[in-house]
């Protein structure tokens, strides 16, 4: 792709970053609440582990590491760049965007990425604050690298999932209730709160087969070492499979949506 074709999206990302910085208060509160949640989860898991036999492959320190890294990931993954679709549909401003020679899905992606970048930077101070309260394990550099790669794929899967959800607004105009449900379900089933390895038998196997696992569970299990280096290839391949599946789905939804655009008002 020529540079000129990417340039607008780079600018969108920069502008989103600049815009987000102006909402300083929101940024600081989200970091504060995250540090608090990290501390609360440490207390919770410590209490739970004191009462029960620890699972073999997930001792307390690994569990706290898991929970802390999961929360740090959520700083970035909970940014919903495609929320813009809903806002723009409701306000009717999507019409003016469609009159520009840009790809709207890429516009949403770059806008989201710009905001993400800001929160990505915030991971550092949050981590430093968190380290005063909890101790987390750091894996070998190679595992860390694979984790980063897996996290990148997870970010894209998460974006596409959000995109599909928000694009439903083209038909219903409002998707808030649906999104709330999907958010709850995915928080629970993606391994953000409870590692999927703790779910027993069939339920556990089913959860690993769902796309939500590709968002939190896979990178986290790589980080804490439950997915061993021998299994890295398979884990990443499954993630990529979901990425491909969601790309196709998002593409189909977008094509159908652009066909039926009926701008509200105006």
């Amino acid at each position: 792709m020529p540079i000129a074709a990417i340039l607008p999206y780079w600018e969108f990302a920069k502008k989103a970053f600049a815009r987000e910085v102006t909402y300083r208060f929101e940024v600081f509160t989200s970091v504060g609440s995250l540090v608090l949640r990290i501390y609360l989860l440490r207390c919770l898991w410590t209490a739970l582990y004191a009462q029960n036999a620890a699972p073999l492959n997930l001792p307390l320190h690994a569990m706290i590491t898991y929970a802390t890294v999961a929360l740090l990931m959520s700083l970035v993954l909970e940014i919903d760049g495609t929320r813009l679709i809903r806002e723009k549909l409701r306000e009717g401003t999507i019409a003016t965007d469609l009159m520009k020679p840009i790809s709207l899905p890429f516009y949403f992606f770059s806008d989201g990425a710009g905001r993400t970048l800001l929160y990505g930077v915030l991971v550092v101070p949050t981590l430093l604050c968190a380290l005063l309260l909890v101790h987390i394990d750091v894996p070998a550099p190679r595992a860390l690298g694979v984790f980063a790669l897996s996290f990148l794929i997870a970010y894209c899967v998460n974006f596409l999932l959000n995109f599909c959800m928000n694009a439903i607004a083209f038909w219903t105009l409002e998707t808030f209730a649906l999104q709330l449900i999907v958010r709850w379900v995915s928080d629970l089933l993606s391994g953000q709160i409870i590692p999927l390895t703790l779910f027993p038998g069939v339920v556990g196997r089913l959860l690993f087969a769902l796309p939500f696992a590709a968002i939190y569970s896979t990178p986290l299990l790589i980080y804490v070492g439950i997915v061993s280096p021998r299994q890295w290839g398979t884990a990443l391949a499954v993630q990529l499979l979901w990425l491909a599946a969601f790309s196709l789905l998002a593409g189909a939804i977008w094509r159908a949506a652009s066909r039926r655009i009926v701008v509200q008002g105006g």
Partner: protein, 341 residues
């Protein structure tokens, strides 16, 4: 039929758009039924409109609310797919090649801004430069020209949400033209502006059309815009085309009737003149309508001063506003047949 001078830059043939929406049932139970039934009602927004516009024309696209103006513009910009008919803008079918079409057009909506709300005005321009990949020197030249013409120097660094409506409109005009579009759609560009700001915008539109030979389609309710700017108007009502031609022609066809306004020195009871019809009277002022093809104004004035103590007289030409209002009320065709040409 209008003579074909060159290939039209905008051309529609039997353009039609029908909206389908679920039929709503009244009441709370009805609302529930609306959720589950698949009954639709159809509304024809644009009905078989055929128009062709030459490069460099400045056309007024006029119609009452709900006549189908915005729907047409949306189809021309490629964001709405026609139900049937043909449509070509600068050689491109807009909805099939939305992105390619977008490079050829600029759009200004009076009621909706395309500027980025949270950013200083100039940053919106820079973003647009990137979006349309405008070369830096051309961007610089255009921006300097627009800043000077529209007097934007003072608020170039102000966030858009803090701009006044007049300032924002000027910003929107610059934003729509930075990439030198061949065609510009203006939708109510002077709505809500004061007289001075309106005139500034009109002068700018005229200048762009003349100097850059930009084709302009102007949609407005303010017919003073049209009178000042357009030679040609396209009138639609209830989705259908009812007039397409010169502003002057419609004025002479409909402008047969002039009004003679007579002020008397003392109150006069029921004044009357041969050849003119009294339309309003309040004692000292009378308004009399006459057909300019049949009566001569100077003779009527002489007649009036012979009969009554006349202090002052004036003649009112019909303005476009009253003509168009009459067309909406009475329809074009009937009047057209009556009018001698």
């Amino acid at each position: 039929m209008r003579a074909v001078l060159s290939t039209p830059i905008i051309e529609t043939v039997d353009l039609r758009k029908v909206f389908r929406s679920p039929r709503r049932q009244p009441g709370a139970l009805g609302a529930l039924r609306t959720l589950f039934t698949r009954e639709y009602e159809e509304r024809v927004a644009v009905s078989n409109v055929s128009v062709s516009i030459q490069p460099g024309e400045l056309v007024g696209y006029i119609g009452p609310n709900g006549a189908g103006k915005s729907t047409t513009i949306k189809m021309l910009t490629g964001i709405l797919v026609p139900t049937s008919g043909e449509l070509r803008v600068a050689g491109v079918v807009p909805f099939e090649h939305r992105s390619q079409n977008a490079r050829n057009i600029g759009v200004v909506f009076g009621q909706r801004s395309q500027l980025y709300w949270d950013l200083p005005l100039v940053e919106s321009f820079e973003l647009l430069r990137a979006i349309y990949t405008v070369p830096r020197d051309r961007y610089r030249r255009n921006l300097d020209e627009f800043v000077a013409l529209l007097e934007m120097e003072d608020f170039l660094r102000t966030p858009v949400r803090q701009l006044s409506l007049g300032q924002r409109m000027r910003g929107d005009f610059a934003a729509a033209l930075l990439h030198d579009p061949k065609i510009v759609y203006l939708d109510e560009p002077t709505i809500g502006l004061d007289v001075v700001a309106k005139e500034a915008i009109r002068a700018f539109i005229a200048r762009i059309n003349a100097e850059r030979e930009t084709t302009i389609v102007l949609t407005t309710h303010d017919l003073a815009d049209v009178e000042r700017l357009c030679r040609r108007i396209v009138l639609i009502d209830r989705g259908a085309l009812i007039y397409d031609g010169d502003v002057e022609r419609i004025k002479s066809e409909y402008g047969r009737y002039r009004t003679l306004v007579v002020h008397f020195a003392q109150p006069v009871a029921s004044p009357s003149l041969t050849g003119a019809e009294l339309v309003a009277h309040d004692g000292t002022t009378a308004r009399l309508r006459f057909d300019r093809n049949r009566e001569r104004a100077d003779l009527l004035i002489r007649q009036a001063s012979e009969r009554y103590p006349v202090e002052d007289v004036s003649i009112e030409e019909p303005d476009l506003e009253s003509i168009i209002r009459r067309i909406y009320r009475e329809g074009y065709e009937r009047q057209h047949e009556e009018a001698p040409t």
